[in-house]
Amino acid sequence: PHFIIELPGRNDSLCFNINNVPGTIFNLVRDPEAGVFVNGQIIGDKKIPPDGKINTYFWRFGIVHRTLGVSLQVTTQYISVSQDGKDAKLLWTDTASLKGPNVDVVVTKDGSLTVMLKRSVKFVILLHKVWKKHPYHRDYLGFYTLDTHLLSPSVHGLLGQFYHGIEYEVTDLRPGESPEKPDATMFAKGHQLNVTRGWQRDFRRDVKNGENVPCWFIHNNGSGLIDGAAADYVVSSLF
């Protein structure tokens, strides 16, 4: 999966990829103070493509708001919402909405799921539908955090660590391997990183083709930009 940290105040974005063996569960957001946790599990292609490159995607998310007593499991097949011991299951094949005391959920058919957790966070999950008979690819999900301002300063996780901004500077622009993708040096979190100007896709407006977001790409699973290593964010279960 590719991560994009959009920074409209700086008119810029950062991006990186995180990959691991299929089945790995990563922590994306961890805010013990607010009681919010988001974990996601990745899958790989159906078989190894001719180019040998194993692609992984998120196919399942577990979202918990302990304080509000809300949990959601979102897979490429369905969405289950649990609040105060009451369960509801929604299908991606329906357009539906669910309004509870602490959580609002809106599903658009085969498209997106918007989740608003009361006084804490708003996010959108996109479903990427792939032709069932595609030899390699299968359905996968994208996770977009839209409003995080009520989360606590201690929020962390692969995405959460960026919710309160990041200081960085880019300098020493130089030609990269590809003429359209120059390299540069980034200073962030006390590290000097070799980064590459490129773009990654934001699928919110166009779920099929996406829209290119120019960004500074941090190599090696975001090494140096993320705190610690990607392996530090591996968790044993979705909840």
Binding site: E6, R10, Y144, R197
Partner: protein
Amino acid sequence: STNEAMVEVLSVTVDCTVTNRFAHTVMTSVALNKANESKEIFFDVELPKSAFITNFSMEIEGKVYVGEVKEKEKAKKQYEKAVSSGQTAGLVKASGRKMEKFSVSVNIAAESNVTFILTYEELLQRKLGQYEILIRVKPKSVVEQFQISTNIYEPQGLSHVDAHATFLSNELLPLVEKTVLDKKAHISFSPTVEQQRTCPGCDGTLIDGDFVIKYDVNRQEKVGDIQIVNGYFVHFFAPPDLPRVPKNVVFVIDRSGSMMGTKMAQTRDALVAILEDLHEEDHFALLQFDSDVLSWKESLTKATKQNVAEAKDYARSIQDNGATNINQAMLDGINMLKRDRQANRLPERSIDMVILLTDGMPNFGEPNIPKIQENVRSAIGGNMSLFCLGFGNDVDYNFLDVMSKENKGVARRIFEASDATLQLQDFYEEVASPLLLEVDLVYPDNAVDYVTTSHFPQLFNGSEIVVAGRLTDNDLDNFLVEVLGQGLEDNFKVQGQAGVVDWNVMYPDETYIFGDFTERLWAYLTIQQLLEKSKTGPADEKANATAKALEMSLQYSFVTPLTSMVVTKPETEDGTDSPLIADKLTEEQRQQAERLRSMAYSGFASNFFSAPVQYAYSPVYLVDGD
């Protein structure tokens, strides 16, 4: 230049005449195509970036093609037309820190000659006590007739004249002829073909580098020197023996992440050297900033030996870290000076200044540049001078340039190189010794008009104030001049009378050269100042300054950032002509050119600077698959 053995460069001559600091240089090159087919011949020359091209011509087969100075927008239309039909255009490119390169090439028929003549003019600036004439020569091969000839005419009298060149070996050194009389100097260098060769029988030339002449004039009159020629006057003011005014300087030092490595080390080294050079009666403060601002001490400190030693230790400890909060750092520095002023902790007669050193864009705290400029201007309130040092290619120089000019100061680019420490020290040295504050040069109202700027916030040791104007009365016998300022002990006030000097008497054999140089000096200075004004102040004033600068650039045939020289090359065989454009580069364009050069190829910036797709103001953090 040519790589073709069948093309011979017959002559390269550089003829420079300096009259009252105004330098008029003509570079002429003649080449012969000895082949029995047409050849492309290149004319590449470099000129100082402070110079304006005034003329260019090519003589081919008896026909002369002359460049024409036009309004840039109009020239651009011609240029675009040429580009759309597949022809080439731009003639001027940035070349290093001090120079820009003018390049043109033409096809010359078999056994034909071509003569290129480029003329440019500049007002030499006095820096660290001398004027510098820089002539860059790089013929690609030995030249039948090679000559650099410089004549300097300074009615004040010459105090010293030095000539040297980066390519002068012990063998070539005696070939530099220097004749210095009281008010006139002649320097020439004209090696024979054999003397130019890198070795006997080789085609390679030793002549490759900078020929530099440095000189200064005598200064006896406190009121300065005033020259009146052909209805225009010019006043040079740099009086001798003035005591320096103590300064209170706050150094605001960027230590953000991008300063990491060499830049940070050079900054530390320069700071240590600069602190060492502080005078004991000066006061100083050190502020370092990234996203936060750290101050060495709460207030300014007297530059005693012990304090300077402590400050040097502090400077040595500055480490890079984090983002760039210029706004807060500037406001903290300014407020510290204001607090100390209000509390009478600083000498009454002293100058307050802030020196900002940064290598990057503000990206923390207040990132909006106009807002920062407004905050700084408002905080300073006209009560101190701001000098900005922009380190490297990533800095927004225009931001610093405008901010300095709005606050009685100047900005300077510091180039990333091994000598950056020296560049920083040199700049500091230029502003380290203020002699006078709030200097006014006053001329009789009824005798002059169109006077260039006559108020200057400060006069620094080693520099010079220049004012020029037009006389309304050409028969003026006496011209009363008054200079007012604030010095160390008393208010400075001098008066003097300038008489019309008879140049025919002073230089009886050479009167033909002087012509309208004072008028052109005045025009050059006026255009420079109008271009500066066009960057700051209210919109209508900026527009007026731009319009006036354009009008004068066209009138006096100066290639400035508002005009272009259009050069029409000979018609090609298919009957089309191909206009070429010589532009004057701005500092921003130079910086951009350096960025692109450092990227090794062009057409890349547009990708890099394209704005990201944005949906809303609030940030989005996402993870998805392709």
